[in-house]
C-alpha cells in the first residue's frame, strides 16, 4: 500500500486543479496524448512488459520503503498509464490524484529501472508520458508548477529579473576580484571560446559558485563569456512538469544565445538535469539529434583543465569524501571515470559508494522531485533511506555532488537521517585547492 501519510498530503496544484476538471476533458486529454503525442515506442513498451517485476530492485523508493510493492517501477506504471490505457481515458479525480503523486513524487525519472528490465523498457518515459497528460490537465504539484511558470515568464528557474541577473554577475565579479586580481565575468563577449551557463538557483541563492567559476576560468586562462540577458539558464523544470512547449522555448533561447555569441562550446555548471535538458530533451523536442553546439559539463571541463595541466592542484582536501554520481551525467553521460579522476586529484581520502557508476541510486531530488516543494519533503526522505545508508557506510565527512539537485537532495537526506556530514560542489573544493598565480 502506498504510504498513508503521502496519500494525505495536501497540494493545491493537484487537489484544486482536479476539482475543476470535467470527465470529458480528462478523457479527451488522455486520449489525445495516447494517440497523437505517442506512438510505436509506447505501444511496444505496453505490449512487451510481461509483468515480471524484475525492475523492482532497481528503485531506491522500493528498497527504502521495505519493498512495498506499490513502489516498484512496474507498479507505478500499472497504477497510472496501464489503467489510463485500459479505461480508454475514463478515469476519475481520485485516480488522477494518485497518479500525480506517483508520477511527480515517487518517480524521479532516473532511468535506473531501465537497466534492470530484461527488455530495456524505458519506464521513466512512460512516467513522463503520465506527467505530460497531467500537465495538460493542469494537475501539477504547486511548487513544481510555480517553477515551470518561472521558466515561462522569465526563462529562468527562480523568477530572476533581468537586472538582478546582471547585477549579481557584477557583484560576483567583484567578489572574485577580491580573491584573485584581474578575475572577470565577461558579459556578451562575442566570439569567446566558451559560454558558461548556470541554473537559476546560482544567481538567486548560491551566487558564490559563479565567483568560484570566475576564479577557475581566470587561473586556467580561459576565453569565456556569460550572456547578460535571457538564455543564460539551461535548467528546465518545465521538462519535468510535462510542459514541453515551455521546455522547448527555454532550450531554444539558450542555444540561440550561444549561437549569437559565436562560442565554440558551452560549459555548464554543476547541474545534472540542466545537462539533460540542454543536451537531450530540449534538442530532441526542437528537432536536433544532439546539441547544436557542443556542451561540456563542469565535470568534463575540470577533468580537461586538471589532466592537461592548465590548472594545478596545490594541496589536497584531507578529510574523507565520497561522491554522489548524478544520474543525468553518469547514467546519462558516462562521466563517472572523469568525476573520480577530478575527485582523486583534489581529495586525499576518497571513498566510493556502493553501488556506484551507472548503478548508483538517485538522490530522490532530481526529476523535478525537490521542486515539488515542502509538502513532499518527508516523502522524498522516506523514499531514500538507502541513500542515507550508502553515505553512512562510506564514513565520509563530505559528499561531493556535482549537481544542484543532488546537492540539495543529499543535504536534505543528511539532515533527515542525521548523518553529520556535509555536501560540497566540486568548484568549492577546487578554489580551495588549486594553485593560484602569485599566491
Amino acid at each position: 500500500m502506498a504510504d498513508l501519510e503521502d496519500r494525505q498530503v495536501v497540494d493545491p496544484g493537484i487537489d484544486e486543479s482536479i476539482a475543476g476538471l470535467t470527465p470529458d476533458r480528462i478523457e479527451r486529454t488522455i486520449n489525445r496524448v495516447l494517440t497523437e503525442e505517442t506512438g510505436a515506442r509506447l505501444q511496444a513498451y505496453l505490449q512487451t512488459c510481461v509483468h515480471c517485476g524484475l525492475c523492482a530492485e532497481a528503485c531506491q523508493s522500493y528498497i527504502s520503503r521495505d519493498k512495498d510493492p506499490d513502489y516498484a517501477p512496474v507498479a507505478k506504471v500499472k497504477d497510472t498509464l496501464w489503467e489510463m490505457v485500459k479505461r480508454k481515458g475514463k478515469v476519475d479525480g481520485e485516480f488522477l490524484h494518485n497518479a500525480a503523486r506517483i508520477a511527480y513524487i515517487d518517480c524521479g525519472a532516473c532511468r535506473r529501472c531501465s537497466m534492470y528490465c530484461p527488455f530495456g523498457i524505458d519506464i521513466s518515459y512512460m512516467i513522463m508520458t503520465v506527467r505530460r497528460i497531467l500537465n495538460l490537465l493542469g494537475v501539477v504539484p504547486q511548487y513544481l508548477q510555480d517553477t515551470t511558470n518561472s521558466h515561462a515568464a522569465t526563462m529562468n528557474q527562480m523568477w530572476v529579473q533581468q537586472d538582478d541577473w546582471i547585477d549579481t554577475l557584477m557583484w560576483q565579479e567583484e567578489d572574485a576580484r577580491s580573491e584573485l586580481a584581474g578575475a572577470r565575468i565577461p558579459l556578451d563577449r562575442e566570439g569567446a571560446e566558451i559560454m558558461y551557463s548556470v541554473i537559476g538557483p546560482e544567481p538567486k541563492i548560491l551566487a558564490q559558485l559563479i565567483a568560484n567559476m570566475a576564479i577557475i576560468f581566470k587561473v586556467a586562462g580561459a576565453d569565456w563569456t556569460m550572456p547578460s540577458t535571457d538564455g543564460w539558464d539551461n535548467s528546465n523544470m518545465a521538462m519535468y512538469s510535462g510542459d514541453f512547449e515551455t521546455m522547448g522555448r527555454v532550450e531554444r533561447l539558450h542555444w540561440e544565445r550561444a549561437s549569437e555569441l559565436r562560442v565554440k562550446r558551452v560549459v555548464m555548471g554543476e547541474c545534472g538535469h540542466a545537462y539533460r535538458g540542454a543536451v537531450y530533451d530540449g534538442p530532441r523536442w526542437l528537432g536536433w539529434t544532439k546539441p547544436p553546439i557542443p556542451m561540456v559539463h563542469a565535470v568534463e571541463y575540470y577533468y580537461e583543465l586538471i589532466s592537461s595541466g592548465r590548472i594545478r592542484i596545490a594541496r589536497k582536501i584531507e578529510e574523507p569524501v565520497t561522491v554522489q554520481d548524478p544520474c543525468n551525467i553518469v547514467r546519462g553521460r558516462g562521466l563517472h571515470d572523469k568525476l573520480r579522476y577530478v575527485v582523486n586529484a583534489i581529495c586525499a581520502d576518497f571513498r566510493d559508494m556502493d553501488p556506484r557508476y551507472e548503478h548508483n541510486y538517485c538522490c530522490q531530488a532530481g526529476g523535478g522531485l525537490i521542486n515539488c516543494g515542502p509538502p513532499w519533503k518527508r516523502s522524498r526522505m522516506k523514499s531514500n533511506r538507502v541513500k542515507a545508508d550508502q553515505i553512512r557506510d562510506t564514513g565520509a565527512h563530505t559528499v561531493i555532488t556535482p549537481c544542484h539537485n543532488c546537492h540539495s537532495g543529499i543535504e536534505d537526506i543528511i539532515g533527515f537521517y542525521k548523518l553529520g556530514c556535509h555536501v560540497s560542489f566540486i568548484s568549492e573544493l577546487l578554489v580551495k585547492t588549486i594553485e593560484m598565480p602569485d599566491a
Binding site: A40, Q47, T48, C49, G53, A75, I121, D122
Partner: protein, 215 residues
C-alpha cells in the same frame, strides 16, 4: 482428428503465427513513422552490445543478483525455442511436409527440456503468487498465458511417454500447440519479437547517445 490437426490446423497455426507477427510488425512500423526521434538514434553497434549482454546469462547486474532466476529463465527460454523445432516427433513432421531431414534432439534431452519448460512455468506461476512485487502487477491473463505456454510441452511429454492414451493426448498436444502459436502475436508473449527492438533501442540510447552502459 489427428490428421486434421497435423494437417490444416497446423497450417492455420503457422499462418496465424507468422501472419500475426507480420501484421503486428507492419502496423508497428507504420506507427513508428511518427516516432521521428526514435529511429534516427538507433545504433547497430550499441544495440547489439546491449542484446549480447542481456542474452548471455549473468551479462547484466540484475541477472547476477538473482542467479537461480537467471538460470531457470534462461533454460526455460532455450527450451521453449529449441524443443519444438528439434524434437524427434516434429522432425518427422517436417520431413513429411517438406521432405527434408532435420537434425533432432535425443529423446531424453527433449524430454528433459520439456520438463524444464513445464517446471519453470510452474515456478513463474508460484513466483507470481508469492512475490508481493510480482503479485501486485499480475492479472489473470498472466497466469493463463503461463498455462498456455506450458500446455504443449506438458502434453507432448505425456504423449511421448504414453502415460495417458497416446491418441487423445497427441490431439490435445497439437491443439495446445496451435493455440500457443495463434495467441502469441496478440498477447504479451509478443515480447519474443519486440524485446529485440526495445532492448536495442535502450542499448543505443545508453551507448551511442549517453555514453554509458545499460546492464
Amino acid at each position: 482428428m489427428y490428421e486434421l490437426i497435423r494437417g490444416p490446423l497446423l497450417w492455420i497455426g503457422f499462418i496465424g503465427f507468422f501472419g500475426g507477427l507480420l501484421y503486428r510488425f507492419v502496423t508497428m512500423a507504420r506507427l513508428a513513422k511518427r516516432e521521428r526521434v526514435v529511429l534516427p538514434t538507433f545504433s547497430a553497434r550499441f544495440g547489439l552490445r546491449s542484446l549480447a549482454h542481456w542474452l548471455v546469462p549473468f551479462g547484466g547486474a540484475n541477472m547476477r543478483r538473482r542467479p537461480a532466476y537467471t538460470l531457470l529463465s534462461w533454460a526455460f527460454h532455450i527450451g521453449v525455442l529449441v524443443t519444438p523445432l528439434f524434437v524427434m516427433g516434429h522432425a518427422v513432421l517436417w520431413q513429411e511436409a517438406w521432405g527434408f531431414r532435420w537434425w533432432s534432439l535425443p529423446a531424453g534431452l527433449a524430454d528433459a527440456m520439456s520438463l524444464v519448460v513445464v517446471g519453470v512455468c510452474l515456478f513463474f506461476i508460484v513466483r507470481r503468487l508469492i512475490r508481493p512485487e510480482v503479485r501486485n502487477v499480475s492479472y489473470p491473463s498472466d497466469f493463463v498465458l503461463a498455462l498456455v505456454v506450458m500446455a504443449p510441452f506438458l502434453t507432448g511429454f505425456i504423449a511421448h511417454r504414453q502415460w495417458l492414451p497416446y491418441e487423445p493426448m497427441i490431439i490435445i498436444h497439437g491443439l495446445s500447440g496451435v493455440l500457443g502459436l495463434l495467441v502469441l502475436p496478440w498477447t504479451r508473449l509478443v515480447h519474443m519479437m519486440w524485446f529485440v527492438f526495445t532492448r536495442a533501442f535502450m542499448g543505443s540510447e545508453f551507448g551511442a547517445v549517453r555514453h554509458s552502459r545499460d546492464w
